[in-house]
């Protein structure tokens, strides 16, 4: 029991250390829905970095993919009386009550890739429908709108699901292309294994029947790319197209060993920066929300990155 008290004491010291040095600067709360996903981390890290440039106090929270935790973290930030909130990959309907509370407490909320809510200022996003359509059309172009493709889907995530729907829309218009194999990823902690098992089976089983592979996000594409390399394929044998962006995928597009053909890079850094900049303009500089973003969305177009322009983005 004494050990326990010691720990509690340590917690107290830790807490005291954390609050010291707090000034009366603008207090921004940033919540990422699931930091273990790279896109969520990129979003919150960029927002945090930008806020620090302004000299703001920033606090980053991670909801670990739990809806209830996310709701509680928003509630706690409201109780903390933060001056503003930026939420990465939040959800408008589920957290309607919390958004309403924030609005009632006079706390401006800007969301990123979350969907619009009447209680938040606006949502910054690339428009997943556009992103999905771009990737699908590009992939079909690389195989001259003919033959088979493999698809790696992910239904549990709204954005990834929309990308899949857009693939289906593009396919509907191009019946000469058929999906010869499709695997849907389960949302588990070991999703990497799930993708690896599912796709390695399809790659073997359907060998020779496909010229292109579509993946709902880049993380999946990396695993597929490694499988293809292991199976002895060379660049150009198949085209592999996915969505998200980031240094790893750019490196693969550039690499002569990788099958990675193109990605539609979601400009998360631009989006997060824009969210924080808008927050400053509205909450600090006193600009009207309508002057910044008239409607519910601030669209930040995604950029298709392939061999042509990869050097521009690769650091």
């Amino acid at each position: 029991m004494n050990r326990f008290k010691t720990l509690m004491g340590a917690a107290a010291v830790l807490g005291a250390a954390l609050i010291s040095g707090q000034a009366a600067a603008f207090d921004l709360g940033i919540v990422a829905f699931q930091m273990s996903a790279e896109t969520h981390a990129r979003c919150s890290n960029t927002a945090e970095a930008r806020a620090k440039e302004f000299g703001w106090d920033t606090q980053v929270l991670n909801s670990n993919g739990s809806l209830q935790t996310h709701a509680e973290q928003i509630e706690n930030l409201i109780q903390k009386k933060v001056d503003g909130m930026v939420l990465c990959m939040s959800k408008p309907v589920q957290f309607d009550a919390q958004f309403q509370d924030a609005k009632d407490a006079g706390i401006p909320v800007i969301t990123i890739s979350s969907g619009s809510s009447p209680h938040t200022l606006f949502d910054v996003q690339p428009n997943e429908f556009v992103v999905g359509a771009e990737a699908a059309v590009y992939l079909l172009g690389t195989i001259d709108f003919e033959g088979g493709i493999l698809a790696q889907r992910f239904e549990s995530n709204a954005g990834a699901r929309i990308r899949g729907i857009m693939l289906d829309v593009v396919l509907a218009e191009n019946p000469t292309v058929t999906v010869v194999g499709s695997h849907s990823m389960a949302r588990t902690k070991s999703w990497q294994d799930d993708v690896r098992n599912g796709m390695s089976a399809l790659i073997l089983q359907k060998a020779g029947q496909y010229k292109g592979i579509w993946a709902s996000f880049d993380g999946q594409a990396f695993i597929i790319d490694d499988l293809l390399i292991e199976s002895g394929m060379k660049k150009g044998d198949v085209s592999l197209v996915s969505i998200d962006g980031g240094q790893e995928v750019f490196r693969r597009i550039k690499s002569p060993d990788s099958m990675m053909t193109a990605t539609v890079a979601v400009p998360l850094e631009d989006m997060a920066t824009a969210a924080v900049d808008s927050m400053k303009a509205i909450a600090v500089d006193g600009k009207k929300k309508e002057e910044m973003v008239a409607g519910p969305y601030l669209f930040k177009p995604a950029i298709l990155v392939d061999a042509n322009n990869v050097d521009q983005y690769l650091n």
């Binding site: 326990f4 917690a11 005291a16 991670n62 239904e155 389960a186």
Partner: protein
């Protein structure tokens, strides 16, 4: 000089009070009525869920399925709400689902003699699979019947109704476990099954009851979660597994040391939620929270490991 047994019994409670006092002084807005009500609302979910786990553990059965069963119940409720069934039906179905899973665990443990560590892991996996089957991985989200949402979001005056429900559940559970024959039989079964059986206690009934209560609590928590978030997803209660166990273990460090007890679990849940609320108000970054929770678990297991081992390995 404080007697040793007083430290054993009340040390953790004292540490909790120190934490509370610390936050009152150092965490701005912590002691506001609004925030205290906020904390009580937030603790409701964890409290009800971990009370269920405690009942099973009192009978010396380890229920590792409660979080997944809670998610499954949530999905059942969500699917019926989405299909526009009357909400009392959806709520009943969710409770029935939880109760059924608990009874199933009880059957596996007492009739098929599968140790609870294994049988509840099996149930957890089945529940997870069913939740994905029902949803296809996609969350149910909607703007559902306000009467239903009232169960999770409603307030009477400034007091969230969920706090009132939880108070009732806590009172009932405390009464059942300490003031009734059923409760003491549960305890006797957990403490010395053979002695209990030979004293004429129906130990099989006790074990089934403990696990059934755990399932029912999971169903109840599902109702609160779904109504609070107006949505249901296949792993929405996943985070509660660790927190629920932590609350119970923490509870085992007080009042009746090394024995699972309802009062201890209540205080344990409060400490965990107060800590997570307090850390946000103190401005702590997200990873601090995980680190603190880990420390609490290890520390409380160090104090009360023997019981857990007995339950886990049916020694």
């Amino acid at each position: 000089m404080i007697p040793k047994h007083a430290i054993e019994k009340y040390g953790t409670l004292f540490a909790g009070l120190v934490l509370f006092a610390f936050l009152m002084v150092f965490a701005e807005n912590f002691a506001s009525t609004a925030n205290l009500l906020n904390v009580l609302k937030q603790v409701s979910f964890l409290m009800v869920l971990s009370i269920g786990f405690t009942f099973a553990l009192i009978a010396s059965e380890l229920d590792l399925s409660f979080a997944n069963v809670c998610s499954l119940s949530a999905v059942v409720i969500g699917s019926l709400m989405q299909a526009a069934y009357p909400w009392p039906l959806a709520v009943s179905a969710g409770l029935a689902m939880g109760l059924f899973a608990g009874l199933l665990n009880g059957y596996l443990v007492t009739y098929l003699k599968v140790p609870s560590l294994i049988s509840t892991l099996g149930t957890a996996s089945v529940a997870n699979g069913l939740a994905f089957m029902i949803t296809g991985g996609v969350a149910f989200v909607g703007r559902w019947d306000p009467d239903f949402l009232f169960l999770g979001r409603g307030k009477i005056g400034p007091v969230p109704v969920i706090i009132l429900f939880t108070l009732a559940i806590v009172a009932l559970s405390f009464f059942l476990s300490t003031q009734t024959k059923t409760g003491i039989h549960l305890q006797a079964t957990g403490e010395n099954e053979e002695a209990a059986r030979r004293s004429g206690i129906n130990t099989r009934k006790s074990k089934i009851l403990g696990l059934a209560l755990s399932g029912l609590a999971a169903g109840l928590t599902a109702v609160f979660l779904v109504a609070n978030l107006s949505s249901a997803a296949p792993q929405m209660a996943g985070d509660f597994l660790l927190n629920g166990i932590a609350a119970t273990l923490l509870g085992m460090t007080m009042f009746t040391p090394a024995k699972p007890n309802i009062l201890g679990t209540i205080v344990g849940a409060l400490i965990i939620v107060v800590l997570s609320n307090g850390l946000v108000l103190l401005g702590a970054q997200y990873y601090i929270q995980d680190i603190m929770l880990g420390i609490i678990i290890v520390a409380s297991v160090a104090v009360s490991a023997s019981v857990l081992k007995r339950a886990a390995f049916a020694l």
